[in-house]
């Protein structure tokens, strides 16, 4: 079984269903639009901020504010790419054609990841430039220290979120179950765990909390996170690897 054949097949699959287009379009639109909105509001609020808040003011990170919501569409993309196979019955055709289950799963993830990376990077750059335009005099420049890293990191963050979702969907198989766990987790639970002082120390090791560190350029004054931007992204990558390994083991062991 030549892997290139399977990659080509997975590309045909991903480009021939509507969910790919609408999930990714939503991710792009929400991230950019919400980022612009919050950037605009922040510029307006700047004059009313305390000295302390002004010191922590991170125009780059603010322009990525839309990702908190945009990542949910990325999660839907990742979940549907994998779990559609199960919910539609396609998995039986797929595994009859490609009985090497590892080749099948990793090719699928590779194709979807490539697409998510392209879309994520584009979204991140557009979000940055449009967000900075809204920030006016408070804006950051792409050449400023750490900014380019944050913008590229934003694209990587969206990609890793999608990959994590693919791994979870491969473990759970059901789209409803996967979304029912991932959406509230990333939208609510993780934020609560990360902001309540009792759980903060655990919360910051969650994939989104750790991963989003890469998008920060200005370190908040009271920040005591034990990892830097790349360290945070590394923690997120470990979550992704764990989810995908879990998905692979599930696929390998279970009946289709």
């Amino acid at each position: 079984m030549a892997t290139t054949q399977v990659i080509r097949s997975e590309w045909t699959k991903i480009r021939s269903v509507a969910s790919t287009v609408w999930t990714l379009s939503l991710a792009v639109l929400i991230t950019i639009a919400l980022g612009m909105l919050i950037s605009g509001l922040s510029a307006h609020e700047f004059d009313n901020m305390t000295e302390r808040d002004r010191l922590s003011f991170d125009p780059t990170f603010i322009s990525f504010a839309g990702m908190s919501l945009g990542q949910l569409a990325m999660i839907v993309f990742g979940v549907l790419v994998v779990s559609n196979e199960y919910s539609t019955g396609m998995i039986r055709s797929s595994l009859a054609a490609v009985p090497q289950r590892g080749t099948f799963l990793f090719s699928k993830i590779a194709v979807a990841t490539g697409l998510a990376l392209a879309v994520g990077l584009a979204t991140s750059f557009v979000s940055f430039f449009l967000g900075q335009a809204m920030l006016g005099e408070h804006r950051a420049e792409i050449g400023d220290p750490g900014v380019l890293r944050a913008v590229i990191g934003g694209g990587l963050y969206m990609t890793l979120i999608a990959m994590f979702s693919m791994g979870v969907a491969a473990m759970l198989r059901s789209p409803m179950l996967s979304l029912g766990i991932l959406m509230p987790f990333f939208f609510l639970v993780s934020n609560i765990l990360g902001n309540v002082s009792a759980t903060e120390k655990i919360g910051r090791y969650l994939p989104d909390q750790a991963g989003s560190r890469i998008m920060q350029v200005v370190t908040p004054i009271d920040d005591d996170k034990p990892y830097g931007p790349w360290g945070g992204l590394g923690i997120m990558a470990l979550w992704v690897i764990a989810a995908i390994v879990g998905g692979y083991v599930t696929l390998k062991k279970r009946d289709a």
């Binding site: 997975e10 699959k13 021939s16 019955g89 998995i91 055709s93 595994l95 054609a97 490609v98």
Partner: protein, 326 residues
């Protein structure tokens, strides 16, 4: 001269599938051979689909082994070119077009695009090839599944309940397709819960019930052994007729409901004997025990230990209803 001189064998050895306590497939051993249609017959829930899924490597056997030309399914390079299968359940994404569904399968096995158009033509779906498959009728779905099976021009074809949902024209078409594939020297393995369907298409018959092998025989043998004809007679002058028949060397058996049965197709002879001796007959009818009944008797034994109504006249209800577990 057959197209495929070697290969095309499916060999099952002690194949077993357990789901917890329940044994869905129980120690199945048989071989499916090329150049003929092998019918895989059994009531619903007998384990036919599970067996077929294990052949394709979709389900893992609990014990035993199944090989295609001596290899495990996952060892086949580009498996769609060895064995093509129509599965019972829908196995495609409804949001994808028929063309793209077949294209992604073809690409994964290095099958050229041209072949996708060919099989769409063969199954008669060219006109709707670009339409999303969720709008397909059940019959169109079966045709798409068959197109997928034919895609790799494989020497083994496996069809799970292929006539389901097809209209009469479609049923006629699939029967002829299976026969012509077998005539080309291919292996055709087709499951059904309908004996009558098998009688029309299969050359060889594998019967299972409750996951166990009940028969592995040629269709001709099965028919010869099981389709006995007899004559049913009802008469108010029972003793006298029995005497007459006895004298003529004909053995009649009394049945529970007051009629007599005589083996073989001797209706004319019995009628003439009765007329000559002035015996009144209320009924003299040649009967044929159907293959359906023979199949029911065969499979009924495998479910004997389940409580069910005894003595229900066979053939008057959808078969299987009396013994299918409720």
């Amino acid at each position: 001269m057959s197209r495929f001189s070697v290969g095309g064998m499916i060999e099952l050895e002690g194949l077993t599938k357990r789901y917890g306590e329940k044994v869905a497939v129980n120690n199945l051993s048989f071989t499916v051979r090329p150049g003929m249609v092998t019918g895989f017959l059994g009531p619903n829930g007998a384990g036919k689909s599970t067996t077929m899924r294990m052949i394709l490597g979709l389900d893992h056997p609990s014990a035993g082994d199944v090989r295609i030309d001596g290899k495990h399914y996952h060892q086949l390079r580009d498996p769609l070119t060895y064995i093509g299968a129509l599965l019972e359940a829908k196995a495609w994404h409804g949001g994808r077009s028929a063309y793209n569904h077949l294209l992604c399968l073809a690409q994964s096995n290095g099958i050229p695009k041209r072949r996708v158009r060919e099989v769409l033509e063969t199954v008669g779906l060219t006109a709707v090839a670009r339409k999303k498959t969720k709008g397909f009728s059940m019959g169109m779905g079966q045709r798409l599944g068959i197109a997928g099976a034919l895609l790799g021009d494989p020497r083994i074809l496996m069809f799970d309940e292929p006539v389901n949902g097809l209209d009469p024209e479609g049923i006629h078409w699939i029967r002829n397709l299976m026969k012509s594939l077998a005539a080309q020297g291919r292996t055709v393995f087709v499951s059904s819960h309908l004996m009558s369907e098998m009688a029309l298409t299969a050359d060889h018959l594998v019967v299972i019930g409750q996951g166990r092998l009940l028969a592995d025989t040629t269709m001709a043998d099965f028919i010869e052994r099981n389709s006995k004809s007899y004559v049913r007679i009802r008469t108010p002058q029972r003793e006298r007729l029995l005497d007459v028949l006895h004298t003529a060397g004909i053995t009649a058996v009394e049945t529970g409901n007051g009629s007599l049965e005589v083996d073989g197709g001797k209706a004319e002879q019995i009628g003439e004997l009765a007329a000559r001796h002035g015996v009144v007959l209320h009924e003299l009818s040649p009967q044929q025990a159907s293959l359906e009944e023979a199949f029911m008797q065969l499979t009924a034994e495998s479910v004997e230990y389940h409580a069910h109504a005894q003595g229900a006249p066979p053939g008057q209800q959808a078969w299987g209803e009396s013994w299918r577990r409720s």
